[in-house]
């Protein structure tokens, strides 16, 4: 499992200080989510597109990551824009309010995902964790993130091993009780194993003198380009906020 396919590149967004990117991402996504009206949404979408172009992300990956978002949006389009009693087929008519809502959701979701792809996915996860720790986000929360991410890989591998072992004994999923029971066992086994592992990891940390402090060794270098970037992101945030306020 490789979750950091976009994190390694040489574009400017890849080289920016993760703290600057995190700050920009939080500000811009909030402004996008809370702003009202088509202008702010289109502006945000434009920024998202500009961001991924700037980061030179491979389009194949972009399509892969945008697909689930738009699958969700498509469901909205199936449900929201219709009302009973119209002149259309099945007696359905277009509902202007629902239409606006469906547009809002679609454009905003795409804009936010594009922004996050450009700003967050371009850093390896451990840089993001470090940025949080540098921001003095509570230790426990940072630990939680780090362990979650670290052992996600191990659990995934364990899941893979177990399911291979099942296949090796001629298991093929069907829609019957045997299949459901086997999957339940698999999940239960994963749960038990991860509990056991958590205990062993903790013991290993105790053996190395752990008393609750997570140490930071890496320090990022905040440079002139980070100042410039943050200033630009600040302006973009103000523009979105102004557009958003005008729309509400």
């Amino acid at each position: 499992m490789h979750l950091e396919t976009l994190a390694h590149g040489h574009s400017l967004p890849h080289r920016l200080d993760p703290r600057a990117k995190l700050a920009a991402a939080i500000g811009l996504t909030l402004a996008t989510a809370l702003g009202r009206g088509l202008p702010v949404e289109l502006a945000a979408l434009g920024m998202g597109i500009a961001g991924v172009l700037w980061a030179r992300l491979p389009w194949r990956e972009l399509v892969k990551r945008l697909a689930p978002v738009n699958g969700f949006a498509a469901m909205m389009w199936l449900m929201l824009p219709w009302r009973l009693g119209g002149a259309g087929p099945l007696g359905l008519g277009l509902d202007p309010l629902g239409l606006t809502l469906a547009t809002d959701i679609t454009v905003k979701a795409n804009a936010i995902v594009l922004m996050l792809l450009a700003l967050i996915a371009t850093s390896p996860m451990n840089h993001i964790f470090h940025a949080l720790a540098h921001w003095r986000v509570p230790d426990k929360l940072v630990h939680l993130f780090i362990f979650f991410y670290r052992y996600l890989h191990v659990l995934h591998r364990e899941y893979h091993r177990l399911s291979l072992a099942m296949k090796a004994r001629a298991f093929a999923p069907r829609t019957d009780l045997h299949t459901y029971r086997s999957y339940a066992w698999l999940l239960g086994m994963l749960l038990v194993r991860s509990y056991d592992r958590a205990q062993r990891v903790y013991q290993a940390m105790l053996c190395r003198g752990f008393t609750g402090t997570y140490w930071l060794l890496e320090h990022f270098h905040w440079g002139r380009r980070d100042n410039l970037f943050l200033a630009g992101a600040g302006l973009a945030f103000l523009a979105l906020a102004a557009l958003g306020l005008m729309g509400s």
């Binding site: 390896p124 191990v154 140490w215």
Partner: protein, 216 residues
């Protein structure tokens, strides 16, 4: 001088029969002990007891010159005795190799620069120079094993307790591990099923069966 001494240890896991019953174990300075024994004989449990990670139902644990009873007693033990877990994935939890190796020295109160220096020197000694920024969960099995040994050696212990260190290693990596061990001045106890490895690295072999140790 005895670095580690367990006497009359009885231990049972919850709802199980006693695994260790009247176990005596002594590891003196310069000792290099190999421990054999069937699966489930309590070999790993013995190490967990020595590190204070589980408590015996009876018996005494002496380590580094004092009897150790409570959690607070064992903090000092863990600084002086390095324990390498059977599964390297249990041991490596930090995002990068450098951070993982520096974790122990930092816990011992070393400054950032010093801890980084110790970590880099330890990695270099194990032939792992250049691994500093590697992500721990992308290492191969053998690399993980060597890095987890580095995390323990970076704390500059007097004693190593190694739990099946050769499992899953290819011949070349195993030879490197042997070389690293034999080039060090440390005392150790090693659990393994690989008799050849134990005969090459240890001066005395013990067998754990029926809850007790016997000389081989």
């Amino acid at each position: 001088m005895d670095l580690l001494r367990l006497t009359g240890i009885r231990f049972a896991w919850p709802e199980g029969p006693p695994v260790l019953d009247g176990l005596d174990f002594t590891l003196a300075e310069g000792d290099r002990l190999g421990i054999l024994g069937p699966n489930g004989a309590g070999k790993s449990t013995m190490f967990l007891l020595a590190m204070g990670l589980v408590r015996p139902q009876a018996g005494q644990i002496w380590a580094l010159g004092r009897e150790r009873i409570e959690e607070a007693d064992f903090l000092e033990v863990r600084a002086g005795i390095g324990f390498c877990f059977q599964d390297a994935d249990d041991q490596l939890f930090a995002p990068t190799v450098l951070e993982d190796v520096a974790f122990g020295p930092l816990n011992l109160g070393k400054g950032h620069h010093q801890a980084r220096h110790i970590a880099e020197r330890t990695l270099e000694r194990l032939g792992l120079a250049g691994f500093e920024q590697r992500v721990t969960w992308h290492l191969s099995g053998g690399e993980k094993r060597l890095v987890s040994l580095a995390t323990v050696l970076a704390m500059e212990p007097k004693v190593l307790l190694l739990d099946e260190p050769t499992t899953g290693l290819d011949e070349a990596t195993q030879a490197r591990l042997e070389e690293i061990l034999l080039n060090s001045e440390l005392a150790w106890a090693v659990i393994s099923h690989d008799r050849g490895f134990l005969e090459r690295t240890c001066t005395r072999l013990l067998r754990l069966a029926g809850g007790r140790l016997e000389a081989l």
